[in-house]
């Protein structure tokens, strides 16, 4: 069990800066994020994009902003639980317990949700019985390539991850056979990856099925994937025997488990009181893109402000008998833990 003062759910820019403001009040933070690295959508969606509306930075790349925030909070030594999704929020004797999908437990008197767009989940193709085959031959992420040793694999997708895994599984002679299914005839991945995959197809190492989509999955009789139905734009349906179907179409955000945390939700966001960005659950705050209130603007700079005010109330809950006085960093500097 990890114990801290504030559990911050979401390690995007707003969650990270909240750690800094909490640190100034001598409050310790532990961050949880479903992505394997900090940065949230800035890293997952647009790491190379320039941002122009961070005060004091005429221009800053999203990835660079995350790096700077990590440097800024280093002195406060936050803890991280990365690559795990905050699944449940329970209340026990004036404390909250947040448990992740991997069973990691976190205990603190306050929780600040800085969940951004929510949890990034693999984009699932619209195939009717897809859910039934999850963990039975359908995987949306390649976790361990060895899992596919001597198997017949169908990958679908036209992006870098589809190309990269195709190359990896063939070059390392892992799979028995591999078919790559793509909707168009050309790919938009890195040029050398595209060339490699084309060479593999020409050499007969893989079967490249373009202008096609996987539209159905058939069982092998035991509930496991046995074959997939591929619809070709001109040639009609092809049934392809396979042990595994791996659709690789990137990640997309959804509100995720916190939709069931008894928080007031409006328009897919958590309703808060703008006095301190508190939710309807005392001791639980929501800041950044995940919250909503009259006049809400989804801007990083607004999230910074929201996190700053939220930690003031978090302080009051954690230290009910202490009075907090605003101290300027210009006067006191920053002293870490």
């Amino acid at each position: 069990m990890i114990e801290t003062d504030i559990i911050v759910i979401g390690a995007g820019p707003v969650g990270l800066f909240t750690v800094f403001e909490a640190g100034l009040l001598k409050l310790r933070c532990h961050l949880i994020d479903s992505l394997p690295v900090p940065g949230g959508q800035l890293i997952e969606i647009y790491p190379k994009k320039p941002i122009y509306d961070i005060p004091g930075f005429p221009i800053v790349n999203a990835g660079e902003l995350v790096d700077n925030l990590m440097k800024q909070i280093e002195v406060f030594k936050p803890g991280f639980t990365l690559g795990e999704t905050a699944l449940t929020l329970d209340e026990v004797e004036n404390h909250f317990i947040v448990t992740t999908n991997k069973g990691m437990k976190h205990k603190a008197p306050t929780v600040i949700i800085a969940g951004g767009l929510g949890v990034f989940e693999p984009r699932k193709p619209p195939i009717e019985n897809l859910d039934k085959f999850e963990d039975k031959g359908v995987e949306y992420i390649v976790r361990d390539p060895e899992f596919y040793r001597n198997k017949r694999v169908v990958i679908s997708g036209g992006g870098d991850s589809a190309l990269d895994w195709t190359i990896y599984l063939i070059e390392n002679k892992i799979v028995k056979s591999l078919a790559l299914v793509h909707r168009r005839t050309s790919f938009r991945g890195h040029l050398d990856s595209v060339q490699k995959v084309m060479d593999m197809a020409n050499a007969g190492a893989i079967e490249l099925i373009t202008e096609s989509e996987v539209v159905g999955i058939n069982s092998n009789g035991n509930g496991h994937v046995g074959s997939v139905v591929i619809k070709h734009a001109n040639l009609g349906d092809i049934v392809k025997e396979a042990d595994h179907f791996v659709p690789l179409f990137g990640l997309t955000p959804s509100l995720g488990p916190l939709a069931d945390w008894n928080l007031e939700i409006e328009k897919n966001a958590v309703k808060v009181n703008t006095l301190d960005y508190s939710t309807n659950r005392k001791g639980v705050f929501a800041v950044g893109d995940i919250n909503t209130y009259p006049g809400k603007l989804k801007l990083i700079l607004c999230g910074f402000h929201e996190g700053t005010l939220a930690v003031q109330s978090a302080f009051a809950k954690i230290h009910p008998n202490k009075k907090n006085v605003l101290k300027y960093t210009t006067v006191n500097g920053v002293s870490g833990f």
Binding site: Q41, P125, G157, G158, R188, F249, T252, P253
Partner: protein, 102 residues
């Protein structure tokens, strides 16, 4: 101000006014009229949640690599698929008709 027609996922037709002087795009016009378009990424051609089908013969500028790359990751993609966030509101597209993708 131009007129744009958006057919929603229930097949209902919405005739909307869209200003040409506010640097808007079709995704934003739909959101401003509370049509169910998410626009998760904010208009960077990075999420495909504003995919729509072009149903009029309106001449649009060629699609960017970023838009085509994103459509490669999307579903229900057809030859006339577009990302609404990449369709700028300009005089030239007056009368455009689009249908929201599922």
């Amino acid at each position: 101000m131009i007129k744009v027609t958006v057919i929603d996922r229930d097949g209902k037709t919405h005739l909307l006014d869209a200003p040409t002087d506010m640097n808007m795009n079709m995704m934003e016009v739909c959101k401003a009229h509370e049509l169910p378009v998410e626009g998760t990424c904010g208009g960077m051609a990075l999420c495909a949640s504003c995919q729509m089908y072009l149903e009029s013969d309106t001449a649009l500028p060629e699609q960017s690599d970023a838009e085509l790359a994103m459509l490669d990751q999307a579903f229900h993609v057809k030859d006339n698929s577009r990302l609404g966030c990449q369709i700028r509101i300009r005089e030239e597209i007056d009368g455009i008709v689009v249908r929201l993708a599922p």
